[in-house]
Subunit: 590 residues, 2 copies
């Protein structure tokens, strides 16, 4: 098994040369952000990932979290790792200084969190939820709520959760039934929730649950849902912990992967009802949740990149070491490492380039989000926000599909050893499989993309993106030709959605997934092509020791264009095939 | 969790209407084979799969086989299931009557074994190995060996194994080191073997290992390998069991899937050396093993279909039952089952049509194998054998890739529930992952296809297949257009391999996998198109209650052509991209 080693060179390239750290550093509040600072942070994070989180990834998978007498016991070493994480200040990275944070832009916090995802996905899910909770309270909480809950969520002294799903309310959150009855300055919450990630654990003294529930007489569906802060232990005015609240984990799910992360069935209000504090106004809970969703979806897309990176490193290391077979060009020279075989190379290059493209796309959107938040010009902020809104579902769905694909190829590169759990490749195959599912399945992402982000604005946002891509100078004809072809196909498919040949609403829904896949592939190609152009310039000016890195960037972009542009065009053809065949069979015929 | 229910209607369609039972029934020795007989056999087998094997699939996964004091204890119910399997005569299906078999053609035994694969893959692996061993002895054993070992392997009273792999000898079998030293009328075998499927168990009194080993002074590589019968217990001349042979399972692998199947590390000859009997001549072991490989590879391809079917049934059943969201056309009508959503339909249709196409291809090749074995005309036999040889690697690799894809989509259809092991979908995702690996990785299959089967005969076999496909009348223009396009692309890519633009042998190796994927997709499309044509005829003549089945065949073929033909063309473009990019990076750059 290979320990994780952060791909610092590629991360720095994307941050500094491709996406442009300078643009983000020019934003108000980020003036102190230098290339040196960023490198120092990434190097420290890499060390923490390699030395603290990675070594307990496999043992955490084997041991898993378990529920014993109402208490969740996390795998050996996890509690200590969480303490080291908090002590290192890692949880505070992206919060504003006035909240106790370090005020780093998403462009920098994204690669850092990617490292946690690579090193130990089960662990990494815990802080992500605390951060999401703090960000939401910052936006919608009262001053008193902010003061009481945010500092400890930012520091990591307490953790947060998102409590949405119920047995009958998954993708359709509006169907949830958990009740919230007002009582004085609080509410009494009762109901059962499932799939609560890190809903209970032994890391911290308190856990702050963000719970969706329905108030009496609230309208049905998503318009009747409110959001509540429901702590595990009540908190006194002086900040000390009070009595235990009326909630408990009933059981943990037995999952395919991310075993270290306890996925809880939570029972609220078995006795007098759990005390919960309303966030914002009644019946606006979904809106508050949605406001966090962009970040949460970008985070899951990032997990796809993280797992892909880990699987790629594992496979590449194995392929370099595993001696088997002879070289095709020089068969007399004895046995060689399997990395010399072209078919194994194809697997590795596929893994490598999908990972690089998905990373580039994720960081690009992170930087756009930084601009959307902080740029002094309102028009620039709005444009960046539109780009973010358009690409969030793509980052979430395409990057996680890439993660699963890469993890599966990673198993394959190992041959029989890949199927043996001790090797480590199988864990990535299992762990990765959750990412296309949670935080809105990839099908939901595709529908969001096509209905809200494409049809919703008459295709304007995507037209701007296509225009920008078409205007990009691509000096390498081997990349340019397939890229321009697939761009033309994208334009045509977009027209199909914006100006459909049918008034059946199912046609757009039917084409959503292949359209999203193609859009991810093509934006990935755009960023790979730009990377190759930058690399060309560097090489022309004498790249010194960095020459192999830049040469590899050009090779990667060419391989990617050759391999994935035709596939994107194929997906776009499928995206326009309508819903008639899909809906033709009777339900019973399946 | 859904129990397995054999897709009898589709199986019968492929056997009788698409591939043509009548052609196989006309072969010498199969004269008694009527449609009624075949249906009766399939129905009995379906019952056995549903009632005996399917119910212990999930419990077998949870419990797994375990090694206790040198003895492998199989999961609860497995020993009884194996006894019922033997008592039912299921092991004897495809053997000639003179060997104690029922003399059924591959066209009939293939669907029966597919049922075992669907119902319980871990279980099904055991008899497959016994059958392979018996078939090899039938070809290459002495009369004495045949008499001693074959009847009990045919009946299933004993089981057989294939013992090839060693830690340093996987895909490169020629690197193996296990020694065989002659001693009187036998050899003494010593060495360690890994990945021995069902190498030890509690099903039967004896186990007959077929072991590859190296005799003293044998030449290096595959030319120095001999094959030996090495029984767990010695067998006296009167057929009773003698003393235990010098071999034992050292440990079982902890695997990603097929937990019920014990994958053994086997130690031979820790003391005086295990007694083994030479099969055929010294140093011809690889040739004997290769002779079985066609069947073994077809069997693994069939496993891909089996797992895909099971995953599809599980997902379809869940999609019909899971109520979530509203209908796009009629949103006011309340919540609907998710099978009404076009995006879920796309997932189900993808699963369904890949499974149908892979099944059709597998049965088609099985029937060709029947013709190759029994047709009275030597020329016809040779033609059929050439078609089999060409398509065996395609069936193995493409069908198992389909199996993994379908199983992964199956998880996705379930949403969050798919990630929970209790649901059952995750087991298929785990179990399926071994099939692209064992019996020659799919990369090895692709190399076999391109180097031996395409380049090796100057492209003749595939040219005949392409010609036959091009000559097929496809009355449905929606299928014909994409099919003909992709066929033209196949022709062009084939020329690239047969008459390459470069003398670098790595170019063909680099394009092997995408070429194989395309060839599988296209032959699958051909059989789907023919199915649609047959269905059209039936409907034109009044299909009665069968109308929905035939209509679905047409819909499936159209969906398949729309979705997968463009992808096949994309793969073919990639297949011709050469090896320069693949080999450009230094090994250390990965």
């Amino acid at each position: 098994m290979t320990e994780y080693d952060a791909p610092l060179r590629d991360m720095q390239f994307v941050i500094e040369e491709l996406v442009g750290l300078s643009e983000v550093a020019a934003l108000p509040g980020h003036e102190d952000l230098t290339s040196d600072t960023v490198r120092a942070i990434l190097e420290e994070a890499a060390k923490f990932g390699r030395e603290v989180l990675s070594p307990i990834n496999r043992s955490g998978d084997i041991e898993g979290s378990r529920l014993e007498n109402g208490v969740v016991v996390t795998p050996k070493g996890f509690k200590e790792a969480y303490k080291a994480y908090v002590d290192g200040g890692w949880n505070t990275l992206q919060f504003e200084p006035e909240l106790g944070g370090q005020g780093l832009p998403m462009l920098v916090s994204t690669p850092v969190f990617e490292m946690w995802d690579s090193a130990n996905l089960g662990f990494a899910l815990c802080p992500v939820l605390s951060i999401a909770g703090a960000e939401m309270l910052e936006k919608y909480g009262t001053d008193e709520q902010k003061e009481k809950w945010i500092p400890k969520l930012v520091s990591g002294e307490w953790t947060g959760t998102m409590v949405l799903t119920e047995p009958g309310a998954g993708s359709d959150v509006g169907a949830l039934k958990t009740r919230a009855v007002p009582e004085g300055n609080h509410y009494r919450i009762s109901g059962q929730k499932i799939f609560t990630t890190w809903g209970e654990h032994d890391f911290t003294e308190n856990i702050v649950h963000m719970v969706l529930a329905r108030t009496p007489d609230a309208p049905p569906g998503t318009r009747g849902i409110s959001l509540f802060i429901v702590p595990k232990f009540m908190v006194n005015d002086d900040g000390t912990l009070g009595p235990r609240n009326d909630l408990r984990p009933v059981s943990l799910e037995h999952k395919l992967g991310i075993h270290a992360s306890p996925t809880c069935v939570m029972q609220f209000g078995e006795n007098e009802g759990a005390i919960g504090y309303l966030v914002g106004e009644e019946c606006r809970g979904m809106q508050y949740m949605f406001s966090m969703m962009n970040n949460a979806r970008l985070a899951v897309g990032r997990e796809g990149v993280g797992i892909a990176t880990r699987a790629y490193q594992q496979a590449a290391s194995y392929a370099r070491e595993r001696i088997q077979g002879r070289d095709a060009v020089n068969p007399g020279a004895g046995q060689v490492a399997i990395i010399r075989h072209p078919d194994v190379r194809r697997n590795l290059m596929t893994m490598r380039t999908l990972t690089e493209a998905a990373r580039a796309l994720g960081y690009y959107v992170a930087a756009q989000l930084d601009v959307a938040r902080k740029h002094p010009d309102a028009e620039t902020r709005a444009q960046a926000q539109a780009r973010v809104d358009l690409l969030v579902p793509v980052v979430k769905a395409w990057s996680t599909d890439c993660g699963v694909t890469v993890a599966s190829i990673g198993v394959q590169v190992h041959g029989g050893a890949g199927f043996i759990e001790e090797t480590g490749a199988a864990q990535h195959y299992r762990d990765s499989r959750i990412t296309p599912i949670y935080e809105g399945t990839n099908g939901i992402q595709a529908i969001d993309l096509v209905t809200r982000k494409i049809i919703g604005d008459g295709g304007q946002s995507v037209a701007l993106l296509i225009e920008e891509m078409a205007d990009t100078e691509i000096p390498d004809s081997r990349i340019e030709a397939p890229f321009l072809q697939t761009l033309a196909d994208l334009k045509q498919a977009t027209s199909y959605f914006v100006d459909p040949p049918t008034d059946d609403p199912r046609a757009a829904l039917a084409g959503a997934t292949p359209y999203l896949t193609a859009l991810g592939t093509i934006t990935g190609c755009w960023l790979m092509a730009r990377s190759a152009a930058i690399a060309s310039d560097k090489l022309a000016n004498g790249a010194g020791d960095d020459a192999p890195f830049y040469e590899a960037k050009i090779t990667s972009a060419r391989f990617y264009a050759d391999t994935f542009c035709p596939q994107a065009s194929a997906s776009l053809a499928t995206a326009m095939s309508g819903s008639a065949d899909l809906m033709a069979l009777a339900d019973e015929a399946f």
